[in-house]
Symmetry: C2
Subunit: 208 residues, 2 copies
Amino acid sequence: MFSECPPSRPRVTARDRLLDAAVRLVRENGYGATSVDALCAAAGVTKGAFFHHFASKEALGIAAAEHWRAHAAGLFDHAAYRTDPDPVARVLGYVDHRAALIAGAPAEFSCLAGTMVQEVHETHPGLRDACRDSIHGHGDSLAADFDAAIAACGVTGVTGIGLARHVQTVLQGGFVMAKASNDAAAAQEAVAHLRRYLVLIFGKGDGS
Amino acid sequence: MFSECPPSRPRVTARDRLLDAAVRLVRENGYGATSVDALCAAAGVTKGAFFHHFASKEALGIAAAEHWRAHAAGLFDHAAYRTDPDPVARVLGYVDHRAALIAGAPAEFSCLAGTMVQEVHETHPGLRDACRDSIHGHGDSLAADFDAAIAACGVTGVTGIGLARHVQTVLQGGFVMAKASNDAAAAQEAVAHLRRYLVLIFGKGDGS
């Protein structure tokens, strides 16, 4: 979902390295194709260390989804657009910030949680719910800005939470299309249509 | 991507049964978690029969993506909206038709190609391209209707192929969100926003 690696920590533990390995390998290969052996090799830890920290691959997946959400929050909490007094500018600022993060190979900018949930939605309910919480927990933070924009512009027929979820929907779809064409441009085009939609909804009132 | 099963054929071969099993199992579990053994068991064929028809699991995946595209085409070619003289009504008719197919568990209405490509985009280029062709081959058939709608309404800033791809983008994203919440309503909401976007773009001219 975001291209940057998590910021370096003062003390990188085996657990941290396994979480970072899960983010990288699952974005490259999916959850099913990522074995515990491959995770251990990528993290430079023993299988014993793996099972000291995680009871199963699913338990690591659940922790990785939460790790991913915390990472996402850090990327946006202090972005400049967050302090714009105009709520329409804030939601468009978020969209522009997301567009700026789409670069390189799809594995570098696509979403860990969106990738995992494609595979585990029926077979691993705990991991599915962790993916849902990761996607919603980040995306739903936009709902208040959308509610303010809806009120400021007198828009009817949409809700703040509905638009916040749709932003994540289009991003997830953009990642699938970028993977299919092996080209970041497909995700950029998705975001451009999303922005156009929001401008059509809010553009005339423009928050004033 | 479509909830109906492929229409029954006069003579169902082992190859057909393997393709149908691949559609079902990959939509339920993903590509990585679907083994050749599981495919053989679901199709009721021997491993010898599998390798008589397909050189590898990837070869079956490629054939399944094409099988899926042909199935999709059959669902839409004779739909009533296809003959509407108004191109805006035709594109909205397609969207409404898609909405009507979203029901039940996510494995029943989500997209085989969109699921596979999440996992194989880096590791299996041949299968990735087959997924791209499946998604684009179906979705791009809308481009001519969008071009006609754009011309009829004097819309600027968008292209027929760009809008056709965006329709598939939102659907793919809706499937991810439906899997995350284990609820078809998330995909329905995605389609409702898509429809609103298209009405905002074309609504005023309305093709006349």
